[in-house]
């Protein structure tokens, strides 16, 4: 019983074993022909140092809009784990940890939070285990600096802009700028573009798909967590199965907040 028997009519798979014939002038034969003719014409063969380096296929990052390529699986994994995990499905920001992603979603994309925060302390301290909550994000920032000794030139979340129109929570346009935890760690991954650092303080509405969206670099102390063992693929439940990073959803989403 061969595998081909098991293919249903609706299977998209189409591989068929096939022998192939190559003609004398086929392009695959070019290198061999050239080598042969160099020999006939008494041209010296290439020196060992002259030979081209072994050519390996590159790993390409699969995240939408990211066109980074890597020479090894390790480099690729590091990049992917740093830049594309824990991604917010609404605004496509990446966060170094699931917790920070949770906090982000709660504070930015939850209308209940908006309501409650007007009368309660809702802004949690970002340091795990601390548990304190604050009325405004500025208060939280001050707390982080004073109590937890975060550097003062740290970039925290900035004030959100008012939503332009009433939209469903998940689809709220993130018109505002910097996500939190941008500068958690000075150690920026190799893959992050240097120019991104400057862009961060400005409004980041232009989430151009050409480059990677502004990413959160891995937090220093937290890096082992994300980079080391393989955590459960947590981003999967941040990104509902129905939402895809493909063209349709994000572009439409991005445009929604901006059309006049």
């Amino acid at each position: 019983m061969s595998v081909s028997d098991q293919r249903g009519g609706d299977s998209p798979f189409s591989f068929i074993p096939q022998r192939s014939h190559l003609n004398k002038d086929h392009e695959l034969f070019e290198d061999g022909d050239i080598y042969r003719h160099m020999y006939l014409q008494n041209l010296p063969p290439a020196e060992t140092g002259d030979q081209p380096k072994l050519s390996v296929s590159e790993f390409g990052c699969h995240a939408w809009g990211c066109c980074q390529v890597f020479r090894s699986v390790e480099e690729y994994e590091h990049h992917y784990n740093s830049m594309h995990r824990q991604v917010c499905s609404s605004c496509r920001r990446a966060f170094p940890s699931a917790r920070l992603l949770d906090v982000h979603i709660e504070e930015w994309h939850d209308s209940l939070f908006d309501i409650l925060s007007q009368s309660q302390d809702m802004y949690q301290c970002l340091v795990e285990g601390c548990g304190l909550k604050f009325r405004t994000s500025k208060q939280r920032k001050d707390h982080l600096i004073q109590v937890h000794k975060y550097p003062p030139d740290f970039r925290f979340d900035q004030a959100k802009r008012e939503p332009r129109k009433a939209v469903k929570p998940q689809r709220k346009p993130s018109g505002s700028s910097v996500e939190m935890m941008e500068g958690v760690c000075e150690d920026v991954t190799r893959a992050a573009e240097p120019h991104q650092q400057e862009e961060e303080t400005e409004a980041m509405e232009l989430q151009s798909p050409s480059g990677p969206g502004a990413q959160g670099p891995p937090a220093g102390p937290q890096a082992p967590e994300t980079g080391g063992e393989r955590p459960k693929p947590r981003f999967s439940y941040r990104v509902p199965a129905t939402v895809c990073f493909g063209q349709g959803s994000v572009r439409g989403f991005r445009g929604r907040g901006r059309r006049k």
Binding site: S2, F15, P17, L22, K24, L40, S236
Partner: protein
């Protein structure tokens, strides 16, 4: 094993820096590549003359005038003929001189007279002159040599090695440039002459090499398939060519190289390969490849071996590409051909990736339609070796994935065995590669694996394949997206549907 004894032929320029040589070589290579694209790839061989002069000796003064003078002096007769002829040989290395010579009245008549005369020494020098003329790429120069060709052909059945060699290389050089020359040569019986020469001088390496070269020049003609090839197939030359392809160390590498290239040109242009198969071409070429693969895997990479491996791979690959599959494995003979092909790919992929790729192409043609050979691939434990070559680009990984697909396609048992050989982990790596074609193929192979062997799915999940597959699905183009989605829905455990 063999030694590439071509010291005589190699005219490596002396006294240049290696940088200069490198640049020069790259320049030449570029020219050749363009010529091939234009289907104008033509080479001529130059034999150095007896006194060991380098062909790059600078010319004095005006070569055109020199030629005229020399010819006049020769025509007047008198002493010093030998001296003048030697001077003429040197002068005729210059392209201007070559053109002047052909324009001069009765110049060729003079040479032909010497060539057909009674003085052996003058005959030899005359053929040297013709040899220099044959280096020209100008059709009017090569056509001017036509009056001499009947004599050159006649001398092929002579006994003097050096002389016969020169005749052969001269004829070989004259072939590619123009249809007129080629048609005349065919009419004058070049093919039977070559066959007789090779048959009677079978023991003479230099002659066999020269015949092989000349034949290969004929076979590269654009219209070879219509006229030349049928004549060659009918002449008895193929079996002679095959007899040269022996791993006998007494028989030099160089003749085998020429004959192998002839075979390649014959096989890739012939639609009906049955006559060649009947001669045992497949088993002969395969067993030679097995010897070469064995040598290479023991670290014996002789200089010039690629020149022999290349045409053999192509011959075997194309012989396999059509025809009945039932007797394939018996025709191939030694199943160690499979190991040899892997060994060749491994040995040559850093320096000659195209050669490695052709090697795997032959593997594809072997495994595509034969369960027996797929089983042999597994039995010889070649799959891990192939998996190690998966990072290599330039088409090597694509071809390897096809071979794996060929095996998986045959039966569920094969799928299990593949899964046990670590294919799943390798597919997780190839799924991450940036070339879409490779990703599609990887998905195809994985689909077959998982359809035939459910344990493969478990292994895949363990390797964190599910999140990988989702990323591939989300971000790939249509073909990729469809396949990834199908796999996620139908073949992977339901944990992906959580949340």
């Amino acid at each position: 094993m063999w030694r590439l004894s071509s010291v005589r032929h190699k005219a490596v320029p002396q006294g240049r820096s290696s940088e200069e040589l490198k640049l020069k070589r790259r320049g030449h290579e570029k020219v050749l590549r363009q010529a091939r694209k234009d289907q104008q790839l033509v080479s001529k061989r130059l034999l150095l003359s007896e006194d060991g002069d380098e062909p790059q000796t600078p010319m004095d003064a005006n070569p055109g005038d020199q030629v005229v003078n020399l010819v006049l002096q020769l025509q007047h007769g008198g002493p010093g003929k030998e001296h003048h002829l030697k001077a003429l040989i040197k002068t005729l290395r210059n392209p201007t001189a070559q053109t002047m010579f052909t324009k001069q009245e009765n110049s060729m008549h003079l040479l032909v007279g010497l060539l057909s005369g009674s003085q052996a020494q003058w005959r030899l020098l005359a053929v040297h002159c013709l040899h220099e003329l044959s280096q020209s790429h100008q059709p009017n120069v090569t056509q001017a040599c036509l009056p001499a060709t009947p004599y050159l052909l006649t001398y092929l059945s002579g006994q003097s090695t050096k002389f016969t060699e020169l005749c052969l290389y001269t004829l070989g050089n004259l072939c590619p440039d123009s249809d007129v020359v080629r048609d005349k040569l065919l009419a004058q019986g070049i093919i039977p002459a070559l066959k007789n020469c090779m048959e009677s001088q079978r023991h003479n390496l230099a002659i066999v090499e020269a015949v092989g070269f000349t034949l290969s020049q004929l076979l590269q003609a654009k219209d070879a398939a219509e006229t030349i090839i049928p004549m060659i197939l009918a002449s008895g030359l193929p079996s002679l060519l095959l007899s040269v392809l022996t791993p006998d160390p007494q028989f030099g590498l160089a003749p085998a190289i020429e004959c192998a290239w002839c075979l390649h040109y014959l096989i890739c242009s012939t639609m009906d390969k049955s006559s060649l198969r009947a001669e045992g071409a497949l088993s002969r070429c395969s067993s030679l490849l097995v010897s070469l693969g064995g040598a290479v895997s023991q670290g014996n990479k002789e200089e010039g071996m690629e020149l022999l491996v290349w045409p053999l791979l192509r011959s075997v690959g194309n012989l396999l590409s059509s025809g009945p599959t039932e007797e394939l494995s018996s025709q191939v003979g030694d199943l160690h051909l499979l190991s040899a092909l892997c060994a060749l790919a491994r040995a040559y992929h850093p320096s000659h990736p195209a050669l490695a790729r052709e090697s795997i192409w032959v593997l594809n043609n072997l495994t595509a339609d034969s369960s027996e050979l797929c089983a042999a691939l597994l039995d010889l434990n070649l799959v891990p070796e192939l998996l190690q070559l998966l990072p290599c680009s330039q088409g090597i990984n694509t071809m390897i994935l096809r071979v794996l697909g060929n095996v998986a396609h045959k039966s569920n048992t094969f799928c299990s065995r593949l899964a046990q050989s670590g294919v799943v982990a390798s597919l997780c790596a190839t799924l991450r590669l940036s070339e879409p074609g490779i990703v599609v193929l990887s998905l195809e192979v994985f689909f077959m694996l998982v359809s035939g062997c459910p344990q493969a799915a478990e292994e895949f999940v363990k390797q964190n394949g599910v999140s990988l597959l989702k990323a591939v699905q989300c971000n790939g183009e249509g073909e990729i997206r469809q396949r990834a989605a199908h796999l996620l829905v139908h073949h992977l455990p339901s944990q992906h549907t959580a949340q």
